[in-house]
Amino acid sequence: MEHCELLIIGSGAAGMSAAAAAWKAGVRDLVLVDGASAPGGILRQCSHRGFGRAVFGSEITGPEYASFLLSGLQNTGVRLLTETEVLSVTGNRRALLSSRTGLRELGFQRLILAAGCRERSIGSLPVTGTRPSGVFTAGQAQELLNLRHRLPGREILILGSGDLGMIMAAGLQEAGAHVIAVAEQEDHYGGLARNYHRFLEPSGIPLLLRTTVTELYGSGRLTGVLLRQLDTGAQTHIPCDTLVTVVGLIPDRTLVSGLGSPDWLSFAGNCHHVHELVDSAVAEAASVGRLAASALAASKHDPDIFPEVRGLYR
């Protein structure tokens, strides 16, 4: 079985940042693993400008940000494994890796999970009606538009005005779709003010506050939704062929669920908690990387010190 000192799962913004920081802090045996074909995570599909103000002082695109973070790993000995999924992690500090070249076990001393978030789906909402096609999460719609240059549909309603909802509203409109409205159940848009002013406001797309989708229509493809105004209870049927949902992100810790909180495990980036800005995810991940490095260094000096110290306080 192969071994490494530090395994980082996920090569998005947080994973790359943690890897660079850990390397800089002296970790020399480090593996960064990702299922995708290239590092960058969700940044790869964020082709709009608006990232990196805190770190770079200027605004760059997601792919540019990813290239920058990747350049921080160049001339290091960080081993980057792409197109490699981690199937499982066990309590005896082993990860099972799968790729087209084979299956292998990788032992590690410490693990940083930087697997990001998954998007909540429409199924989790109390939405009635049929279960037609034409319903996308915002991340799916973004990947479709920016990486595959396809539209999810023509007549689009967006549910949720988080940052991604406002960005996708403008992006889909610009790509030629008709974005009917963005519905938001709260009394204020959900994302950052600057995203509202940059994307949603100039697009002219109506923002329907205190409004949600309660029912779907269509036996095959979506043909419409029912909107409910939460204060008045007024219901409006909106014909549309596509619904894009922005209804929440859930840190994806499935790989370590059931392991408790062992002292060799830490979380970085959106897998730790959902960050509003990539910059803050990167900064947090860097400190997680440094902490992992010092924990590894400490255990190198005297691998038995921790049980001994614990014993002092028993």
């Binding site: 199937l87 396809r150 999810p152 007549e155 095959g220 499935t254």
Partner: protein, 479 residues
Amino acid sequence: MERFDVAVIGGGLLGCFAARNLCRWDASVLLLEAREDVCTGISRANSAIIYPGYDHKPGTLKASMTVRGNEAFGRLCEELDVPFSRCGSLMLSYGPKADAVLRLKYDRGLQSAVPGLSLVSGREAEAMEPCLTPGVSSALYAPSAGTVNPWELCIAACENALQNGAQLSLNTSVLSIRPEQDGYRLITTQGDFFARAIVNCAGMQADQVQRLIFPCDVSIHPTSGDYLILDRDAGLHPSHIIQVEPEDGGKGLNAVPTVEGSLLLGPSERENGIDWSVSEAGLSFVRRFAGQVFPGFSEEHIIRSFAALRPNPQRPDGSSIGTFVIEHPAPGFRSLIGVKTPGLTCADQLGIYLAGETAADLRLSPNPDFFPGRSGIPRMKRLGFDARCKAVRQNPDFGELLCRCEGITRGEVLEAIHRGAVTLDGLKHRLGAGMGPCQGARCRQKLIPILAEALGISEEAVTQSGGDSLVYGGADGTL
């Protein structure tokens, strides 16, 4: 015109099992399905329970067939290589009226020879299932109850029938049926077929199909029910099927720990014709009920809600019929009309019965070459390390993970397409792709290009479930 000994109309659970069991006889069998895939009608949504058989009046066909079907289910699933969990069931009572109902069911169960049945105290039930709301007054424990994935089972039965020589015609609606010398002519959307005998398993349309050629006194009266699914991280993992007998005599609730590890809750019940819509009242009912039974129930863990249809058989005067209706209006023509719960438990038994009767009509001899076994799609997640390594060495596609939730690789997806999946639902039904916590948010867009390439169609032509359920839209003006 192609000629067959028997035509089975309808590729749901009943039709697929009828076709499978007809292959036990020396017969040429044609299975007709109106949609693009099997298991796309009412068989696609139900409680997934293999019932023990105490719910029905002792001595009836339903009671004896359920007990027999349940007993044979382990072997059936071994033959068909389908996961089956004989987890047992606990039917709970929270008061004296429901206690009495459980005693009645217990007595019925004893008379029907349901194995291992016992009445346990509320305290015992709570010890068996610590996730329950305290205050259970008694419970009926049936260790023989179990659960299966109905999609996998139905598709397995179909594959087994095809292995044994049956022929499947998809996208084939029967438009009319005419009597001919020694049999019937079926006029369909894919041309005419001749069959010496017909087995009508057309589900919600079974009464109408019989009326294409014979009168049918029994009518199907559809009702529907809503279900919720909780993901496997919900922290709510009863180890048995939990059923609640409500004290007010109203509709109860099932909670089924599925073979996939999720928890299925439902159904509600309502009258609404053929309508696959989920209702607000139904969802509220299931949520409220689940909250009462499980203190740990959290709406945060709901990943999907869906509706199921029940084909309730009725007499001309509108009264409902409690038994399985097997119509036999003429020699060589049989209809299963309005088979609902426990149709999943009895699907193979009903198939055996129909095949036997039809074989007698046609004086068929047993088929000595019938092979009851079928191998499922090799599932990487069920293999040990060494076997999995070997599989990837032989075929790198088995090393490429596409769905994290359900651990599905490209190799498994390609095999499912090879076996007949033509839609995203076809992949879901064969592999579970899209059933997990992310509900396809991460894997769907990886599956579409694979489906398109394998089927030789554009990505824009890929559908969720056939017809106009296009997944993408816009790029080529299809919407």
